[in-house]
């Protein structure tokens, strides 16, 4: 029994036709269908589920305390030993640190993109829908952000507000506002001219209803793709900040911090850097594949054979 079958059986105990657990079943059905027929979607789903679950349940699943220095230092990975992924230069278990690191890295990654996406999409929707002065005002403000490299903004924000989970999240997400705003605006510009927008007006819907109920659903597909790509990027960005010592907190295990700590020992102990690096790579890949599956689920026409 494959994972997708499990997922399907878990969700198919529906009562009311058309709805499952109160969730629009057509979305769910298309999502499951995509996962069933598409190997890449399967891989994406598996990776996201695996890393997501191990991050959420890290305190229960991790074999050791990630901070305790109880093992010999620089033990190489050995699947059969007590430290399957080896230990670092302080004798801490790398597997445990990796699992705890996933908590921070994934949370910062998702949180940062959510922050950027919510603000950016709102700006883009309003700018695109209303046009004119509102468009100019909002989009020129957004253009200003283009003038700064994201790393500089992030460093500046962390420098001003200090390190910490939320600050790092906002610092990274801030840089994504403009990309989401621009993408959303572009989509809205096209959809605004569609006749169904006029039809919605002609039956008396208000602007905010048209924006959020008629226009936005049609912009979802490209935004989801953008969201997943940027989640991957945000995880990398968090790693970058941690690597530079501007991350959450120097001692907290995050993937970027692990990678940075291993840098000094790369010749003696490659695994300290390489293993978190592989984790980042696989997650980024998995999230991208997962995003494609999500996008297909939102495509009501089911034309795109992936």
């Amino acid at each position: 029994m494959s994972v997708s079958d499990l997922v399907e059986s878990a969700f198919s105990g529906s009562s009311e036709s058309g709805k499952t657990f109160g969730i629009r079943s057509d979305l769910l059905e298309r999502f499951i269908k995509t996962i069933r027929r598409d190997l890449r979607a399967k891989i994406g789903f598996l990776v996201v589920a695996l890393f997501g679950l191990s991050a959420i349940f890290a305190p229960m699943l991790a074999p050791y305390d990630p901070m305790s220095q109880q093992f010999p230092i620089l033990m190489p990975p050995d699947p059969l030993s007590a430290n399957p992924l080896g230990t670092d230069s302080f004798g801490r278990d790398l597997l445990s640190r990796l699992m705890y690191g996933a908590r921070i890295s994934l949370a910062v990654g998702l949180g940062a993109v959510t922050f950027g996406a919510v603000l950016g999409i709102l700006i883009g929707l309003f700018a695109g829908y209303y046009g004119g002065y509102i468009d100019d005002l909002l989009m020129r403000a957004v253009d200003v952000m283009w003038a700064f490299p994201w790393l500089l903004i992030a460093i500046m924000l962390v420098a001003i507000f200090g390190q910490g989970f939320w600050n790092v999240m906002v610092a990274i997400g801030f840089a994504y506002i403009d990309d989401f705003a621009r993408l959303a605006r572009g989509e809205v510009l096209a959809i605004r001219e569609e006749e169904y927008t006029m039809a919605a007006k002609s039956v008396g819907l208000e602007d905010y209803e048209i924006i959020f109920e008629e226009v936005f659903p049609n912009t979802v597909a490209p935004l989801i793709v953008q969201f997943t790509i940027f989640t991957a990027r945000a995880i990398l960005a968090e790693s970058t900040l941690s690597f530079l010592g501007l991350g959450v907190k120097p001692t907290t295990p995050t993937w970027g911090a692990l990678l940075g700590q291993g840098r000094g020992f790369i010749t003696q102990a490659w695994w300290i850097s390489i293993i978190p690096g592989i984790a980042i790579m696989v997650t980024v890949l998995g999230i991208n594949l997962f995003g494609d599956a999500l996008r297909d689920a939102f495509d009501v026409k089911e034309t795109g054979q992936t």
Binding site: M198, S202, V203, G204, Y208, F212, E213
Partner: protein, 403 residues
């Protein structure tokens, strides 16, 4: 006011033939809609007057670019970026021009709703048709369901409208009303799963959801093939009979007008050319443009080798000539045509023609048009202007057959 029964076999029960002096449902007087562009002001609608009575099918006919659709959008305050002015623009004696956006939204859908030309693009592709209709039902009817933005977003993105809710059931009922088979199943389908005719029926159902008194149908059958066209038009007429809604039917097809409308207005380059009840318009077309349109309809008894097309095109609206806009293409054009247009009434009540051929001071023997008395003609024009177009029911000296 005059409401002639339609000259077809179909019974028109709700058309009032009694002479009551109730005000028209919609009264439009001297409507101007002007778009400001970089090339100058474009008067898309330039002085249009008409009235639509309760339970009436009123046709507006004209070629592309004659301002039919803009007229409709102006009524609803949907002509984006245009300046709309009128001496009178009243729905049920309520001045539409005086209303703010919020009050207009109340009118839209509730009192006046609109069906668009292309059903392929006027339904939202990412929502089931039931969802789209139910949304309008909630918006207008009192079905006791939360309409907060949050509730709507939850419905739209997470749960969908519950099939046991009043709004969904009303949506299914409406789909049934417009003749969609298996409405309960169809309601769960997306627009791309329906045929063009089905989609237009869905559009009609959506337009009916707010229980309007007037439905503006903007070329509702242009994108459909002829068999479906007949079905959709019959559907509209059935709705008129069933619910007593008035219909403003915008079309470029005189054949459609003849089959469906009680009264017609002919538009050209944003101006009215002629208005009459349908039978009168076809039996006694007075305006050269109307005659041209009627002559260009193919007939079963045609022995013409070529249809009589009207030469030329609609004038560029930015450089519209003063006076009659049709005179550059009109065979009967004469010197008075440069004077501002006024309406001349004919014998039939409600038959008005915006053409100086019907000035009493003009003689027309069928071939040659002459101004008999220049001063008198101009004076008559001024009188017509001042008298608000309503006098002179007298038939002008129109001699012979104008062909």
């Amino acid at each position: 006011m005059s409401s002639q029964p339609r000259p077809t076999q179909r019974a028109g029960p709700s058309v009032s033939t009694t002479v009551t002096e109730e005000p028209p449902l919609l009264a439009v007087d001297n409507l101007h809609t002007t778009f400001t562009t970089e090339r100058g002001d474009v008067p898309a609608v330039d002085g249009v007057s008409f009235a639509i009575n309760e339970g009436e099918v009123f046709g507006i006919v004209g070629e592309s670019g004659s301002g039919k659709s803009v007229t409709a959008l102006s009524l609803l305050g949907l002509a984006d970026g245009a300046t709309v002015t009128a001496d009178r623009l009243c729905f049920r004696d309520e001045d539409l021009l005086a209303k703010d956006e919020a009050a207009l939204r109340e009118i839209r859908g509730n009192d006046i709703s609109m069906i668009f030309q292309d059903p392929m693009s006027s339904l939202n592709p990412v929502m089931t048709v039931g969802e789209q209709i139910a949304e309008v039902v909630r918006h207008h009817g009192d079905v006791g369901e939360s309409q907060s933005l949050f509730a709507e977003l939850r419905r739209k993105y997470v749960t969908g409208t519950s099939e046991s809710s009043a709004s969904w059931q009303r949506a299914v009922e409406l789909l049934d009303t417009v003749g969609i088979p298996d409405p309960a199943d169809r309601a769960n389908e997306y627009p791309h799963q329906l045929s063009g005719g089905m989609k237009q029926r869905v559009m009609i159902a959506q337009a009916l959801a707010g229980d309007p008194d007037l439905i503006i149908a903007d070329e509702p059958t242009t994108a459909l093939d002829v068999t479906i066209e007949a079905q959709i038009l019959n559907e509209l007429l059935d709705l008129r009979d069933e619910f007593g809604v008035s219909i403003m039917l915008i079309t470029h097809d005189l054949a459609v007008v003849r089959e469906t409308c009680d009264r017609v207005a002919v538009m050209y380059a944003g101006e009215m050319m002629e208005t009459a009840d349908t039978r009168t318009l076809f039996e006694d077309p007075r305006h050269p443009y109307t005659r041209g349109l009627i002559d260009s309809i193919p007939r079963t008894d045609d022995d013409r080798e070529w249809l009589d097309a009207i030469e030329g095109n609609v004038p560029d609206p930015t450089a519209k000539p003063q006076g009659c806009p049709f005179r550059t293409r009109c065979d009967a054009a004469f010197s008075l045509c440069e004077e501002p247009l006024v309406a001349y009434s004919a014998e039939e009540p409600g038959h008005r023609t915006w053409c100086h051929l019907y000035n009493d001071a003009v003689a027309n023997d069928g071939d040659e048009v002459q101004r008999v008395d220049d001063a008198e003609a101009k004076q008559l024009i001024q009188e017509h202007e001042a008298s608000d177009d309503l006098v002179t029911p007298q038939r002008p000296n129109f001699g012979g057959e104008y062909r």
